[in-house]
Symmetry: C2
Subunit: 339 residues, 2 copies
């Protein structure tokens, strides 16, 4: 193993000088710096991470904590994770992956052993058991999602309220007067998942505000149950011509169920989804959608975390504005339906 002493000897300087070249914490003459850097290159020197963290009290590693329940969609989770890693690398940090099945103790462990300098919590729920632990730890942290009591915590998320609102506004602008939301499975609402509830609130409030009739119903993910839900909806509320779907897994089944009922999209009914672009584009017809900006959220949370590590103050809540992409699944209300 090549050590800092080897580099120092090779360059004809003291070890501390090598350290200062690397950290930039003291001025070093350009000629010395060049000499040191070239020795580093020649010898293939890589500082020992453990030694560095012991001496400096900084590991340059952040923890990425996966959600408790994998109710959330795996692909979106992965997009988050990739964005977090990529962004962390831009700040010269690495990412330790922590699963939640260790529970809050996993958090304490990686923090107390000084493995990580800071923590990103993914997919935070309203009553998340990891949050109290986070509070008693002294490490900077960022949450993706909002808990019930976000005071003093830094949280990042898509603005789901605005996302729900944007969908309704889009449908309203096309002339639709009767809209429905097919949401997450009932269990997701029951356990108080913030993003599902906020989408529903945005949907209902906006329908109300714009004078539309709006109905929000939960929706399971299995094909047959989806079919039943769609059936119930179309039977009881046949006047609905605008559908908002906030359930990525059920998108396919919902489209199939609509077809089975003889409702053509977008001729008879317009559909707008809240889901990744990928999903929206793989459907026939391609869905107008509000995307979950996983990359953006991941990158943003790491940037905030780095600023906190620098001692900077950052805003408590960062809500990323929804962006609605219009595709083939929404159209103006046909004349016959005008209400």
């Amino acid at each position: 193993m090549v050590t800092i002493t080897d580099v120092a000897r090779h360059a004809g300087v003291a070890p501390s000088t090598v350290s200062y070249v690397l950290s930039g914490k003291r001025a070093i003459s350009s000629t010395t710096r060049q000499r040191v850097l070239s020795s580093i290159r020649v010898l293939g020197y890589h500082p020992h991470a453990g030694a560095r963290s012991l001496a400096s009290n900084r590991s340059n590693v952040i923890a990425l904590v996966l959600p408790l329940r994998s109710g959330m969609h795996l692909p979106v989770l992965m997009q988050f994770a990739i964005a977090v890693v990529t962004t962390a690398r831009q700040y010269d940090h690495d990412v330790l992956l922590v699963t939640a099945d260790e529970g809050p103790d996993g958090l304490r462990r990686v923090a107390a052993s000084a493995m990580v300098d800071a923590i990103v919590l993914m997919d935070v729920e309203l009553h998340d058991t990891r949050v109290p632990m986070l509070r008693e730890l002294d490490r900077p942290s960022v949450l993706i999602g909002f808990p019930a009591e976000p005071d003093g915590l830094t949280c990042v998320d898509l603005d789901f309220f605005q996302a729900g609102a944007a969908c309704v506004e889009h449908l309203a602008s096309l002339g639709h007067r009767h809209v429905a939301l097919l949401g997450a499975p009932p269990a997701v609402y029951e356990r108080g998942t913030g993003f599902a509830q906020r989408t529903r609130a945005g949907f209902l409030d906006t329908a109300d505000r714009l004078g539309l009739s709006g109905i929000a119903i939960a929706c399971e993910e299995e094909t047959d149950q989806v079919a039943a839900s769609v059936h119930a909806l179309l039977t009881r509320q046949p006047e609905v011509t605008g559908l908002v779907v906030h359930n990525e897994a059920a998108v396919g089944s919902i489209m199939a169920a609509l077809a089975a009922h003889g409702r053509r999209v977008p001729d008879d009914i317009s559909v707008v989804a809240i889901c990744p672009d990928e999903t929206a584009e793989r459907t026939e017809p391609a869905l107008s959608s509000v995307l979950i900006p996983a990359e953006e959220v991941g990158a943003q949370s790491v940037s905030l975390l780095m600023r906190k590590l620098e001692g900077e103050l950052v805003p408590d809540a960062s809500l990323l504005a929804p962006r609605l992409t219009v595709r083939a699944s929404t159209a103006a209300l046909p004349a016959g339906h005008a209400g």
Copy 2:
């Protein structure tokens, strides 16, 4: 911060004794051990990971390296990752997530800086640029997937050849004589991805061996291109009654395209897929399928890695046997088709 010296003082022993209690590397009397352990609990001691890695030359962290191209399916990747983390924790190790967009240098960095003791490479391709780097590093490693020259490397994967074979055997046992494989997108074959090619080989060889007519074609993921492929297949080979699908993303579109052609599943045509159970069960009708045992592969690779870290010798290749689950999408060949 609580240090080993604090614990030693509290328990009335030497720091080295505390260390030996924790590591078990020397005999310690039961009374001393109890006293030390209770001090550890009372004080809330967590060993400093950096100090430990500096002194012992072991970080108790492994690297999990994501694939170069995310051509692979994100959810499966995430399942792998979760399984790897969970298993690593059982061996008292943590997991550092490394993305491949750093390239092979990322590998060198985490290895040379002693951040990680060992490396798991996910989704290895036939000509994977990370493999040569792995060879010049001295760290133990395990690959998920097989490169072109796997000599001396430890590789784990589903046995895709057998998976392809199992699908054909299943169809053959139901009386089907004309089978087709709808595989990965052409680009995947072109860049020499092992699992796609081995599935195709298993499919073709077995069809041949059992005297079936078998045709393998690549298949894009976009709905309209899938429809075109299915159309071409059914038009040119109308006698096909057994379909093997090895393209998770296209499953839905393929089913839709079959329906559009008036082919009922499984009455007119049987379909068996190679995909996660989740996908198979979310389709209508539920698909008979060979699953990609992500959890098993992830767990297995970590177990092997730990054995290598202990200096044990492990087999070069571990192929996990495919398990075919029969669901509603396959049925006996109708009498009319008997060939």
